[in-house]
Structure formats: C-alpha cells, structure tokens
Amino acid sequence: MTRSLNELRPVYVVGIGWHRYQNPSETPYVELGLTAIRSALADARIEWPAVESSYVATALLGMASGRPMLRHLGATGAPLMHVENASASGSTAFRHACIEVASGISDVALAVGVDKRNPVRRSDTGIGHLAEDAIVPFTHFALLTNEYAVRHNATAEDIALVAVKNHRNGAKNPNAQRQQERTLDEVLGGKRVSGSLTALQCTPIGEGAAAVIVASEDGIRRLGIDAGRAIRTTASVGRSERVYPPGTGFDAALTKETADLALAQAKLAPKDLDIIELHDAFTVEELHYIESIGLCPEGHGVRMLKDGALDIGGQCAINPSGGLIAMGHPIGPTGIGQIGEIVMQLRGEAGPRQHGGARTGLAHMVGVGAVCYVHILQK
C-alpha cells in the first residue's frame, strides 16, 4: 500500500533564507548559495552539522555544482544530491527533502536552489519539428494569452493587471529582482516581446539562491528549535503531463489535476487557501492557474483581479512575494523561494507585505516537459 506525505510522520519547515534574486552579475554561484544556506541556518538557529542530507536544485550550473559550494560550510560527509527538473527543480528538491524526513531516514534536511543565467541546453530527441526553434517560452504563453483573451473576452489591459499587482508586491520584497511599482501604462507601454506580451509581463530570468531547512518533531526537540515558528508541510504532489483531449491546454489541465490531489491530501477546499505562490512567468499563467486550482470558475480570473480579491489583504493573496514576474525566476531557487515566502507569511513575519491572518498557503510550479509540483503548508 502506498502512502502520501501527510500519512508519514509530520515534517516542518524550520529555516528559510535567500540570496536576493538579481540581474546577472560576476558573483560566483558559490557565494549566492552559501548566503542563502547560512541565512536559513541562522533563521532555524541551528548549526550546519545538524543537517543530515542536502538536496541541491539547479538547472543551469552543469554537473556536480553542489559539493564545491557545500564544502565551505564544513565538510560533514552528509549525503547530497542534485535535482534538475526545469523550472520545478526547487519544488522537486523540497518535495524529496520532505519525503526523506517524513519517512524517518533523516531528522533534518536542506533544500537549496542556486543558479546563474547560463545558456539552456536541451538534447535532441531525434524527432523533427516544424518550427519549435521559433517558439520560445514567451511565445508559447503569447499563444495561450491570445486563446484566453478570445475565449473569455478579456482585453490585453485586463491580463496586464496581473503584472501591475505582482510588481506592487515585489516592490515590498527586499529579495525581489524587480522592486519597482509599475502602472498599467508602464506595463503595456514597455518593450513588445511576443503577441500582446510586453517585457514587464514576462519574468526577468536572473540569478540568486533560496534555501529551506525541514525537520521532524524529533529533530525540532533534539535541536531546541522554536516549534512556534515551524510550519508544517501538509501536502506534496508531483505530476507530469498526460495526453489530454485535443485543444485542451496542458498547462492548465496538469495544474488542475496536481492541485486537486494536493488539496485532497490536505483535506482542504480552494476557498481555505489564504496565500498562493504560483508560476506566473507570464501574466496569463496567473489567470489560468487560479482557475485551475479552483479559486473561481474558468474565465472569472480577471473579475477577481479587478475586485482586489487577489491582492495582499484580499480573499486570497496571489504571489505576495512578487511572483516570478517581479521577485524573479532564477530557475533552481524559484520553487524553494516560494516555500520561504509562504513560511514567512504563515509565521506573520512578512512585514509590509503581510497578508493578515494567513494560516494556509499553496506553492505551485510547472516546468517545461511538462511537470507540475504543488505543496501545501499550514500553520
């Protein structure tokens, strides 16, 4: 018989840390990663030797980048593994760190994501294509934007409002790559990228790092960690794309099935969610995914956005960190940074971007392929 994460022993996030997401710089990845890990250790108030296992999420650093970074914390001999799962690399690393602790194999594990903006290299499958070389991610989502706009009678302005909200949130986040509020005119008037997408509606791929430490109740007691600041992971689900009926968007369908399973695992309904950090690499994705997660019926996302229901302080704060559009998307760190943001919100430590009374948060990432990961955290 198989079991889900929340049927194993409880696992808690006890430490969170970042190196700010930023434009590409000369800073070596080692420095980015160490900054995030030391910050997470300090947040948990534990020392490095307490960490029994490490999961290093990175998509663009090449082979075996973890040990040249981790050795500077003092080489303890603890196991480490690298996780590459496209944009969902960090979420995947977090899932497996949680599984290791929940299973009882370790009491304390680290998930760290670190990346620099290096060229993406994908191997040839041997199957030809008509024009896939001309369809980079922003054009994939420009096509979805066109479909969404026509199907739901949404304007380019309606969809761009997602970016206005997420830039507003990012402006209050010291770890965000973009920390500037933007008006609708600025968003729409920026550089045109593909279809109706403008530069400020697209994630600015950069560099950075994010780290979280997870622990069991035994670990929390043994290390004297403050249980009042520990946030439990109550659901973890990973899925990959299936064959959907012709014309069905796989992005939304995959998110729906993954989120449905996660909500069932945590015994929650969409209305119970106070916070969602989701994969808004492009504005239209936020509308697709809140509808897929079940916050509102298909096509009603714009109405919620205009009503302020998705703002910090609204019905459910979407991407209070600024999301991929404003906080940024350094690839490996992104899914781990989402977990950190939700933990900060659920602890009530999010300062000027605190969503009042937050008790339940959901983190969602998709990665090309396609894969989808959803985690739920509860106070």
């Binding site: 024009a131 070389d133 550089k191 593909s194």
Partner: protein, 139 residues
Amino acid sequence: MQPNKLLKPDLYFEGSNDREGATVRLKGGRCRCGYVFFPMQSYGCERCGSHGNALTLCELSANGTLLAEATVHLHADKNRPAPFTIVKVALDDGPVIRTLLADDSAPVAPGQRVTGRLAPVGQSESGETVLDLRFSIAS
C-alpha cells in the same frame, strides 16, 4: 526549371497532381490504439506505450482551424529575424500543431479556417528552390 527541394522532408510531402506545391500532406502517425499524432515517430505511443508495428505512417491533411496566433517581436536567433507570426492549428485530422504563418498571409484570428502550403523560403546550394510549410487563411 530547377526542381523544388523540401526543407523538412521527414515531416511533409507534396501532394500528388500538384506541381505548384499548393497541396501539402503531413507525415503523422497512428497507433493501433487509435491515437493520431504528428510527426511520425516509432519510439512509442504517448497514449498507450505501444511501439514497433503498432505505429504506422498516417497522412494528415494540412487543413485546420486556428486556435491562436502570436506575432513574435523579439527573437535571439539571427537566422530567423523577427517579426514573424506563429500559429497554433487544430488539424481536421486531430493533432494540434504550431508553426509559421506565411509572410504574405492576411492577419488571422482564432476560429478562422487555415490551410498549410509549401512556400519558397530560400535556395539550396545547387540552385533548387527550398520549400517549407507555411499556413495562411483557407481560400
């Protein structure tokens, strides 16, 4: 007259009785489970996992309905200077494909009927006209 040369002969071929290249057929595949896909491959069926003789070549019509379009304004690859337009088409024979709109096509919008044609895109080293698949509004 120099003969034409197809840019991607693994993916499509010129329809018979048409030396002008106005008709093109796509090289799709069909699994014995009934799943129809594009392009043809023999690794295995994405729906059921069958492989080998279970997968056979299946000619697909290049007629379909436009699902979405996007004009690309920025593109890093110097060999394909922007702007160009990508279309997502639900083929009448099942698969959904994404490819280029013909440079001389009128603007298109979702719901319109479109059709694929072979269009000249350059010259080969030996002087043949190179043809590639492009979509435009169905006439």
